[in-house]
Symmetry: C2
Subunit: 525 residues, 2 copies
């Protein structure tokens, strides 16, 4: 096992250990502020605040000659990023302190001049659309294929991407998001090969896959599959503080100087050292522990899945995707076809109520009331993450919670109820079911030129009166933060039904003026 | 004294105290990751990492129903922002997790459509220019007035701003930066009055003044002076973690819906709760302690200034700005005129070597070697911050360091040396001296339309061969991060002399391809 070596963390500890007299920002002065104000402060607050923040504040320094500068790394940050590039099979790695959001913005700003066209998977995080808006680019959205059993949108097929490339050979890049929020993904190698034949880069939002490629039971990472740039939310599945992420690049298809300028543009000029230190530590653990780092988590998840099945819980793991995807048949009806083989993140548990009584949101709430906090819910599913920090005791609590909800469901569901143990039609339940055939697989280019903010005259109307109008705001249910509608897009009946279903189930619409989404802003055309 | 009440911090502590089983991001799982991997980890690392991060990681959670969502606050964040608006005399306050950078970007994106014109003080932080680039706006840069004694650029006069408004009545906003990095500023009330007569908003980058307005010896804050929006780096002078900042707004001149959209666009969709909690705590301390919070720091700074003068140290505080400003006389020579009355931040000490032997960068290094870490240096000055966390012991260490450097200087400076105790011409030494009269006070509009990235053909040339060419890159010595040249601007002799002087003194050029700035990219016109 390689020794643990984390240069940023070590430089910060060394500086703190030298007992410096700090006459610089930040204003907490290595956490000494509460000591300085001890005469004013109630004991309880002083002790509690000191205990909570003192250790982290020692590392929370500014750019000093003993530390380094993220926007011009020459010392510990340079070394840490070099080690990260090695660990993640990249040519170069950039540490991000603004989350995957900043990486997605920077990738698009690095690739697109105003009016440039890119092919973009439709179910992307809103930061990708924001990148298109800031860049003033145009996008061809490609509808993803959905899993037949769960109804979950995954990614467009290689054939769809190839068709889009044939129709729009002038595109500057292809942007994919992989894996999705539910841990389902595709094999990116074939995509990379197809896209590289056009001489353009494949950009990947790999926010949910920061752990990929580091264990035989985990899918390959985007870098390993040949992507030109990939953004990973290190904080999501590795032990980094929230907003800690990485951008990996390889090859020559991306202008790296421009990318670096874009990163300096979208990120704080005072980046957080504690966040960078945990990126460094996360990488050090990957380097040192390798696959052993994920072994207990994978075992925990496997054991839970077996338990759910063997005990016949009414709450089941829907994550076992089928080998089929939903297709549109020649007669325009929707069917399933054995074609795809989704890759799955073993560390995501996707729970659902097999009786169909509890929506995902309700199931999440039931789990919370039993002390188990999930990552997110939609109308059908609850996503839970298992990690290296998940203990046996926590897994037992989760089982107890599921068992308790199961018993409650048994009581309310009559034994004669047909829904009991019936395989529900998840494709109708899932939030993403709308993608099945409602929208053309390869859309017309959507323009984001002319300024990020559209101030054409608009009015607010009740959602059900918006049929056929162009949305004047993005509609983004959160989580998972995937835009359902982009500003400028025409509302269909499927859009309206979807918004109403989500609103009635208590979803939050991030960034919308009316977070309950009873009304929507539309352009007066 | 009002009781300490910090709703975000309290909600986080309550959640952590409920001993939740966490099946969500972040991947450190409340810091339990190292316990989970204890079999793999060397004891030393595990104990050290746990000690450093465990407490903060308990608060580092995602958007949960027990916490809140920064981009759609409905619970603790909403309450904390409401209390902040009260404490900072604003109508509304937005917590920022991407530093003042994100606030400056958002203010400009909220005000400017592509091609819109704004009046901008020339010596602004690079994030302001980046905001113009992202918005595709055009800017009329107004050269700031400089202090006659120190040569430090402060701000344009009200009369300059009024003249710019008369010339360009179609502007959408005026953007000022106040106070500057050295703690010098202007009375913003008159500016606000003049600007409001044109019905447009005054936007202020108040990054260095998060503590303003909370003690009789501190200048008024931008909000108190009537600005429409102001960004404060709470982390710089109040006890918030790095990247924690606030955006305050008042009145109706700014489209708040658009501003909120811009904030959601530039900031992470997974904002850091520990950062938000320390913003909340900083505000709680202001509310509860009031001016008492700054009393010991102000006394420390005052005492140090007296000591420097009374003991006749060769290292002196240059922060005592004169009441004169540098002007260009009718005969085109440069002189001084008694006219202005700069406001000063009493908590910034601006040290310099009165013998002129040590540059600011060298003096900073000498202080560091004696354990005293300053905020920044330029060719003449070193800026030190005194805060509530500064102890008497630290002030003594600073005095000892100054005394030691003084003794060293005494030894190398012959008693007959004319430079000893001579009042140096700071206006020639200071980095910002170039602003004296080298550039027209009110420039021609500079266009940032057509995409943030200019890819007109350019070449790299040695800096001294760039006279008369248009820069193809921004030149930003850091600190203080104020752009010397904007991409697209023509290089003058003053620019070249300035770049060479800074490079020879070891300044860092952030974002430049050649950080030593021996060469510069220029457009082939």
């Amino acid at each position: 096992m390689k020794p643990l070596h984390a240069p940023i963390y070590e430089a910060l500890m060394k500086h703190a250990g030298d007992n410096p007299a700090s006459f610089h920002v930040p204003g907490h002065q290595s956490g000494q502020v509460w000591r300085g104000l001890r005469g004013l402060m109630p004991h309880r607050a002083k002790d509690e605040w000191t205990q909570t923040f003192a250790e982290i504040m020692k590392l929370d320094v500014t750019e000093l000659s003993s530390t380094d500068d993220l926007h011009h790394p020459e010392a510990s940050i340079k070394e840490a990023q070099r080690l990260a590039a090695q660990a993640y099979d990249a040519d170069a790695t950039y540490f991000l302190v603004g989350g995957s959001t900043s990486g997605n913005l920077a990738m698009l700003l690095a690739v697109c001049d105003p009016g440039d066209l890119v092919i973009v998977q439709r179910n992307v995080h809103k930061s990708v659309i924001n990148g298109l808006r800031l860049a003033g680019a145009n996008a061809v959205f490609v509808t993803p294929r959905s899993d037949a059993r769960t109804g979950l949108a995954v990614a467009p097929s290689v054939e769809q991407i190839e068709e889009a490339l044939r129709r729009y050979p002038m595109v500057k890049a292809v942007f994919l998001s992989n894996p999705n929020y539910y841990g389902l993904g595709v094999e990116l190698e074939r995509y990379a090969d197809a896209i590289h034949r056009y001489g353009i880069p494949l950009l990947v939002d790999e926010a949910h896959g920061a752990h990929y490629g580091h264990h035989p039971e985990l899918p390959l990472s985007a870098m390993q599959a040949g992507a030109d740039a990939a953004v990973q939310s290190t904080h999501k599945t590795l032990p980094a503080l929230t907003m800690g992420a990485m951008l990996h690049v390889q090859g020559e298809r991306l202008n790296r100087e421009r990318l670096e300028q874009a990163l300096a543009l979208v990120q704080s000029s005072s980046p957080s050292f504690p966040i960078m230190a945990t990126l460094d530590i996360s990488r050090a653990m990957i380097t040192s522990f390798g696959e052993a780092m994920f072994q207990s988590a994978i075992s925990h998840a496997l054991e839970l899945r077996s338990w759910l099945q063997e005990t016949g819980m009414l709450i089941q793991d829907a994550g076992r995707a089928s080998d089929q995807e939903i297709i549109r048949k020649p007669d325009n009806k929707v069917g399933a076809e054995s074609k795809s083989s989704w890759l799955r993140d073993p560390l995501r548990i996707v729970l659902h109520d097999s009786t169909g009584r509890l929506s995902g949101h309700q199931l999440k709430k039931e789990l919370e009331e039993r002390g188990c906090w999930a990552e997110m819910s939609d109308s059908a599913y609850v996503v839970l993450l298992i990690g290296a920090g998940t203990s046996r005791e926590q897994m037992e609590r989760l089982k107890e919670a599921v068992l308790s909800i199961h018993r409650h469901l048994i009581q309310v569901v009559a034994p004669s109820d047909k829904s009991l143990n019936r395989q529900p039609d998840y494709s109708l339940h899932a939030d993403t079911a709308m993608w099945r055939g409602d929208l053309e697989a390869i859309g017309e280019p959507v323009s984001f030129e002319g300024g990020w903010y559209r101030n054409d005259p608009s009015i607010r109307v009740p959602v059900r009166e918006a049929l056929g109008k162009r949305a004047a705001e993005m509609v983004v249910p959160y989580p998972p933060g995937i835009p359902l509608l982009y500003a400028g897009e025409k509302l269909t009946g499927a859009h309206i039904a979807q918004i109403e279903r989500l609103a009635s189930q208590g979803a939050n619409f991030q960034g919308a003026r009316d977070p309950r989404m009873e009304t929507i802003a539309v352009y007066i055309d």
